[in-house]
């Protein structure tokens, strides 16, 4: 592109061509690979925010992320107190019996106070919003889970290659 030269009454000014306005994001594909409470929310909230803005959203749950969409675990996700430097408590203290439950209860209470939906409701909201939820086939096999173990909002169990097909044209986010 050539630089354009504008002639003004006062001086000759050389103006660089304007940077084209970036294209808005049209689609997002989020890989949820963690099953702790604090790592479940970011993927779900970002997917929901995308849908609220009219952006297509596809979610792929793999490894521990399967806990977010499994009937038996969805209401029991925990905040980790060991190996989590952001807790600001010594690892040994974090490992004491009951610490993880305490931290989880405290976080859930705070979320309730702010009227943040629990994970199960958030998955339902995503389904209502038209977001597509998929489980990873390999992780399902590894954890010996079947379709019956998953929440009804999960659309299908797919391979990593299938995920790329579903994610065509999307920005991909790994959590």
């Amino acid at each position: 592109m050539n630089t354009a030269t504008l002639t003004s009454p006062t001086a000759d000014v050389t103006v660089a061509p304007a940077v084209p306005k970036p294209e808005p994001i049209a689609k997002i594909a989020i890989i949820c690979s963690k099953g702790t409470l604090d790592m479940a929310y970011p993927g779900l909230i970002l997917a929901n925010a995308a849908r609220m803005s009219g952006i297509d959203a596809t979610l792929f749950f793999t490894f521990w992320g399967l806990d977010i969409i499994s009937e038996e675990t969805v209401d029991k996700l925990h905040v980790p107190t060991v190996g989590n430097p952001s807790m600001h408590i010594p690892t040994l203290v974090g490992g004491l019996p009951g610490m993880e439950s305490l931290a989880t209860t405290m976080m859930k209470k705070q979320m309730e106070k702010l009227d943040i939906p629990d994970v199960r409701e958030l998955v339902e909201i995503l389904d209502d919003s038209g977001a597509e939820l998929y489980a990873c086939r390999m992780a399902m096999d590894m954890f010996k889970r079947t379709e019956d173990d998953l929440l009804p909002q999960v659309k299908d169990i797919i391979s990593a290659m299938d995920f790329y097909d579903k994610a065509a044209g999307a920005q991909i986010l790994f959590i």
Binding site: N48, R51, M52, G54, G130
Partner: protein, 105 residues
């Protein structure tokens, strides 16, 4: 900044299409705002959402988030996405003449 011609007046919008001056909002302007967002004519259901959003914002001092609208307006989440397919989180507030909601849910 962009402008919208409606009912013989020029109405200023911000870069995202929201009214710069919320006081300029009128029901006729809502139709023009909807059109500028690529939507068709507003139905009764749209008006149920718009009326709720305006009343709630007047009470709370901020635009309602989408979950709040679905919980309190009597219009379900699924319906909201049908009414505003290009993104109900922003568009409900935009057509209702309110600022972009701060809520993430």
């Amino acid at each position: 900044m962009t402008a919208l011609e409606a009912a013989g007046k020029t109405i200023e919008l911000n870069g995202e299409g929201f009214l710069l001056d919320g006081d300029q909002w009128t029901p006729e302007l809502a139709e023009a705002l909807a059109e500028s967002a690529g939507m068709g004519p507003l139905s009764d259901k749209h008006w149920q959402v718009i009326t709720f959003c305006r009343e709630d914002a007047a009470r709370e001092g901020q635009s309602p988030g989408l979950r709040r609208i679905s919980k309190l307006s009597g219009v379900s989440m699924k319906e909201l996405y049908k009414l505003f397919p290009k993104g109900p989180g922003k568009l409900a507030a935009r057509v209702a003449g309110l600022p972009k909601p701060q809520a993430c849910i």
